[in-house]
């Protein structure tokens, strides 16, 4: 086996795709997706920027255009 062939065969994902017969199957790094999800759960700002609705308890509602009377 040449060096190149050895490299090819050591690529587990490529081999798995070959076995499954789907070369075009998109590869998803599941652990990374999980970490991103956890990060967005921790920080509402991150979730919001990712387009996810945040389940934050307090959201200011618009009450009036006038300044509050103090």
């Amino acid at each position: 086996m040449t060096e190149d062939e050895r490299k090819l065969h050591s690529d587990d994902i490529a081999r798995l795709k070959q076995r499954l017969g789907d070369e075009d199957m998109p590869y998803q790094d599941i652990s990374r997706e999980g970490e991103l999800l956890a990060a967005c759960r921790r920080w509402p700002l991150l979730a919001e920027s990712e387009g996810w609705s945040s389940d934050h308890d307090v959201t200011p509602t618009q009450v009036s255009h006038k300044a509050p009377n103090l």
Partner: protein, 244 residues
């Protein structure tokens, strides 16, 4: 010659200290480097041991005698040069901003004239202003633009709302102990292809460098921040080899 323009995505992210550190690191890699302060606060000079009351710079010389901006050029060490901004009054700053609008080709021409003498020209620019308040001089098209960011919520909000265009993103003051900073770095790595793979870690040496009036690589060569900045310089060199 490569022109690298560094500006913070907001103020206070440590851009000036990065410019000084990077200039020194490129100098250590046998590159001919010029650092130009384009920030009216005129602080880059302090990293090069100039006096607090040293007033001369390209902008102040140019006020006195137009076209003689390059007389303010200083040699820091052999192969490493500095062009300070200079101390201007508010009225003089206003006049300068006006001239930059009427003569937008000024800096591209100046950089062109410096081209033969340097491998790298690093520009220290003020933090990016919200759209419509552009105070930055026009730069040549081939300029490598780097936005300095900190992994904090404010920078994330600005990246989300204003973006950074095609500019490279350089993370400064990264603290891996912070969960939020780790989370943001992970997210940015996924969402921003232009994130530079080398971060500069939070390091007291970076703060000490200015107080010691020198670039971080000279003040604390064995510090973590110095290693980071040297790796960044090597990364930039490798990018240039690919680009040419």
């Amino acid at each position: 010659m490569t022109v690298v323009a560094l500006s913070g995505i907001r103020g206070g992210v440590g851009t000036t200290s990065v410019v000084a550190g990077l200039g020194f690191a490129l100098h250590l890699l046998q590159q001919r480097v010029l650092m130009i302060d384009l920030h009216p606060r005129n602080l880059l000079r302090l990293h090069c041991n100039l006096a607090l009351d040293a007033e001369q710079g390209w902008a102040s010389v140019d006020q006195d005698a137009e076209g003689r901006w390059n007389e303010a050029l200083l040699q820091v060490v052999e192969g490493l040069y500095l062009l300070p901004f200079g101390q201007l009054s508010a009225a003089e700053l206003g006049a300068l901003a006006q001239r930059q609008q009427t003569q937008p080709q000024e800096w591209p021409q100046r950089l062109q004239s410096l081209q033969a003498h340097f491998d790298w020209i690093l520009l220290d620019l003020s933090a990016t202003q919200p759209a419509g308040q552009a105070a930055l001089p026009l730069l040549p098209e081939a300029t490598l633009r780097v936005r300095v960011v900190e992994t904090d919520a404010a920078c994330h909000a600005l990246l989300s709302t204003e973006g950074a265009g095609d500019d490279l993103l350089l993370v400064n003051r990264f603290d891996p102990i912070s969960q939020l900073q780790r989370d943001l770095l992970l997210l940015w790595g996924e969402r921003h292809a232009q994130l530079i793979p080398q971060v500069i870690h939070r390091d007291e040496a970076m703060a000490g460098a200015l107080a010691w009036k020198s670039p971080v690589g000279h003040y604390a060569p064995d510090s973590l921040a110095s290693h980071d900045v040297r790796s960044l310089a090597t990364w930039l060199l490798a990018q240039e080899v690919q680009r040419v």
